[in-house]
Symmetry: none
Subunit: 189 residues, 4 copies
């Protein structure tokens, strides 16, 4: 792979940013190069094709980019704790805070991820199941099937984010408190 010039990188970022906004606004199915170009202030959709080999490459990059930012954000919450319980709590909190602070990114991610290559839900699940198993090994969590409960934890996360996307008025701080209560009850036992 070639090294990318600074200008090139800047343009790609600009286009990805515009795509994020479009995705959050009209959804994946209605996203088009025309809308993205307009949103980015570009004079031609040709420029998008110039910087991205194909629509799919753009979709992948949008997904990867938002995912990277999200991961960084979550990491900022995680590295303060060392128990599995603390890590789980930090993860959930980070997710809801990201939604609160970067709603557009989050909504765009939910729209684009099903159509992007790159890490999928299985990868999320693997990580979560590992965390849960670690908690069980440390005696913090009750006995349960970690793979299955991992599905549940991520389902709760996704569901709250989806609801918040539908209803911008949702009180995410209340959600965070109630969510932790529920997860603690369910996982710690």
């Amino acid at each position: 792979m070639r090294a990318k010039s600074v200008t090139e990188q800047a343009r790609r970022a600009q286009i990805v940013g515009a795509a994020v906004e479009v995705l959050a606004e009209v959804g994946y199915a209605a996203m088009s190069f025309k809308l993205i170009a307009a949103r980015a202030g570009l004079s031609s959709t040709g420029l998008i094709s110039y910087h991205f080999r194909s629509r799919q490459e753009l979709v992948d990059e949008v997904s990867a980019d938002v995912l990277r930012r999200f991961a960084e954000f979550v990491l900022g919450f995680l590295d303060r704790s060392d128990t599995a319980t603390g890590e789980l709590r930090a993860f959930l909190r980070a997710n809801l805070r990201f939604m609160r602070d970067h709603r557009t990114l989050m909504v765009a991610l939910t729209q684009v991820r099903p159509h992007a290559s790159g890490p999928g839900p299985e990868d999320d699940l693997r990580g979560m199941a590992d965390l849960l198993r670690a908690g069980q090994a440390a005696g913090e969590f009750r006995a349960f099937d970690a793979d299955t409960v991992a599905i549940f934890v991520l389902a709760l996360r996704n569901g709250v984010l989806a609801r918040s996307a539908e209803d911008p008025g949702l009180d995410l701080d209340l959600c965070e408190r109630e969510l932790w209560t529920v997860v603690e009850l369910a996982v710690v036992g």
Copy 2:
């Protein structure tokens, strides 16, 4: 609204059925009349337009049709119990069984519902919150914010269905058992 002839009804059903299969296979964004016509063995897309005023009408009908079948299915589980706990358990069980027995319908529904008119997630939430409040009033459930926990319960349902859609090998019976354990812990307290 005019009465629809038998043939008309049959064709519409056939088209809706083909649309369901296409939706489950390629997703909403890639759905097209061409694919549906091919799947249904129709000679042209014109026939779809003949039976449905517009693409949106087809989308709405697909959503309504699957939703109706799903509601019937769920009802078959519900009317055996009378406590809120029993009803909640039956609801969750019914959902997972529907996925197990009618996977294509369920997957199609997740694809189409965000783009259909008709009842939306808010309506689901309202019903669930009412059930939870009834359980609280009956002393079956612990104290929590019913609207928020309704989000959680439906999130769990949706998440399991989504996971099952991604991974057809998922053991839904195991999920059902673990899910009820988790929900009981979380809701009954």
Copy 3:
């Protein structure tokens, strides 16, 4: 050509009538079997195709039918006079009265005639030129090129009808008086 049954004739008339209304309302370019069927209260456009070999045949029949009615109407005015001047005046009066009393027919005719076979403007012109020549031979009209002035007379007729079609509020009685003044000045000299 086969004899047409009574029912057949009635249906054709009904369809022609509906076509006239549609033509007057939306114009030739926007006319369609669907609109005509709806207007006639028919359940299918197939019925139109059943009674008319083709769209063109319907168009021709509409034109011929209205033209026939128009001719009858005009005749009712003509047969009272015997001079060319009287006949010319009666002709013009009849035209404007027909527009006043049967506006829909007249408007439909202007829409359909350019697309119908059957007698065309040349035939109208021939008749008018003959009348003018007769008037010249009788010493009623001044010397002019009859073929050319025939164009003018029919142009005046057509223009007034077209204007009246555009502006239903046009005072056709005033038009009739002014028109005759003008024609008399121009033709008698």
Copy 4:
């Protein structure tokens, strides 16, 4: 409104030109992007949509373009005279000459104008009525209802043009002479 590039302008003009030819040849109802693209030597109808937002925009532009050319042409005749009589005569002469020299444009205009936005017949009538009133005020014309006679004058113009469109062999120079005789008789009195 954005400034249009030279190439853009040229293509639009080319498409408008092709549309004019198609209109003159097959009429408004049978006009289609396919015919226009073929006539213009374009590879696809998509290019027409690329340069014109919609069919209606093309229709409007064709009408406006021909109208503009026509107005310029007429102006070249008008500015030599100062009496109402002279202006009227120049107007009529200009119309017939335009038909003689730019028959395709003229025929296209008659086809497209009823379906275009932009100035309509009422606007033509207003101008003509004003001219007639000016002539009356100057004592050049006899007493008549200017609004009505304006209809007549334009009717004569339209009728001759229509006839010429139908019969390309029509002697427009003869028409011009006879027309002026008739108009003079009718208007001057």
